[in-house]
Amino acid sequence: MPVPILKQGSVLIASIQRALTDTDVVLLQETLIEQVGRYRSRGIVVDVAAIDVMDSFVARSLRAIAQMTRLRGAEMVLVGIQPEVAFAMVQLGTSLEDVLTALDLEEGLALLESLGGEAERRGGLAG
C-alpha cells in the first residue's frame, strides 16, 4: 500500500499509516524525490507516528531520503517517533544523527518554516 503524500504550500507531507514493506519504502523514496522537483517543494515532513517498529532497514531508507532531499535543495524532517520506538532504536544502535526530527507534524512544519526564513536571510546577505 503506497504511503499517501499531501502537498501543503511548499511542503510535502508523507504520513506512514502502517508497517512499511521494503517495496513501500522504495516507492516512497522515488515518489518524494520526484515530487520535490515537480512541486518545487522546500521541505518534506515524514510522519512515522503510526509505525510500531523502526528496524535498521527502514532507518537507513529514511536517512537516504533525507540525504537525497538535501541534494535536491530541500529539507526533510522526521516526526512522530513513538517513545518505545525511540527506546528500541537506541538499543538497536540506529543512528539518525544527520536527520532532522521534531515531536509531531506541527513542530515539524514550524521547524521547516524557521529553516526557510534562515535560508532567505542568508540569500539576502549574499546578494
Binding site: 514493506t21 517498529v53 527506546f87 538499543q91 538497536l92
Partner: protein, 137 residues
C-alpha cells in the same frame, strides 16, 4: 487465553512475511504479559533477523513460542534458514560489519534488544538464531 499462547511458525520469503513474523512475536509477547516497551524490542529484533533471512538466505522460517524458566515466562524466537551460513560469527556480531550492504546492525542490534541470544551457523549449512526475552517475575 491459552489459544493465543501457542507456538506460531511463519515462513519467511518476502518482506510481507517479515511484518507477519514480528506481529506474531508481538502478539505472543503481549499474551505472556511482557511490558509494552519489551513488545517493541521483541518486534524490532524479529524484524532484524527476518530481514537477514530474506537478504542472505532468500527463504527460511521464524518460530515464536512461549518458554518457562526460573518462575518467569518468556518469548523465544527461533529464526532458521538453509542459506550460505556465516563465515565468521564473531565478526557478524560486531557493529558495522556487513557483507550485505546494510548498516551491519542486524545481529549485534538484535542481541542487544533481547535477554538471551545464540547463533548456530556453519558455512554452507545455514543459520539458526535463537533468542529470548523474559517477562516479569
Amino acid at each position: 487465553m491459552a489459544a493465543s499462547q501457542a507456538e506460531v511458525r511463519v515462513a519467511i520469503a518476502t518482506d510481507d512475511d517479515v511484518v507477519a513474523a514480528r506481529q506474531a512475536g508481538r502478539q505472543l509477547a503481549e499474551s505472556l504479559g511482557l511490558a509494552t516497551t519489551d513488545l517493541t524490542l521483541v518486534a524490532t529484533a524479529i524484524s532484524e533477523v527476518a530481514r537477514n533471512i530474506t537478504a542472505y538466505a532468500g527463504t527460511g522460517e521464524i518460530v515464536v513460542r512461549p518458554v518457562d524458566g526460573r518462575g518467569r515466562r518468556g518469548v523465544q524466537v527461533i529464526a532458521s534458514d538453509e542459506g550460505p551460513g556465516i563465515e565468521d560469527i564473531d565478526r557478524a556480531l560486531q557493529d558495522g560489519f556487513t557483507t550485505g550492504g546494510g548498516l551491519g546492525l542486524g545481529l549485534p542490534g538484535a542481541r542487544r534488544l533481547m535477554d538471551e541470544f545464540a547463533i548456530n551457523s556453519r558455512p554452507g549449512a545455514g543459520t539458526t538464531v535463537t533468542m529470548t526475552k523474559w517477562g516479569p517475575q
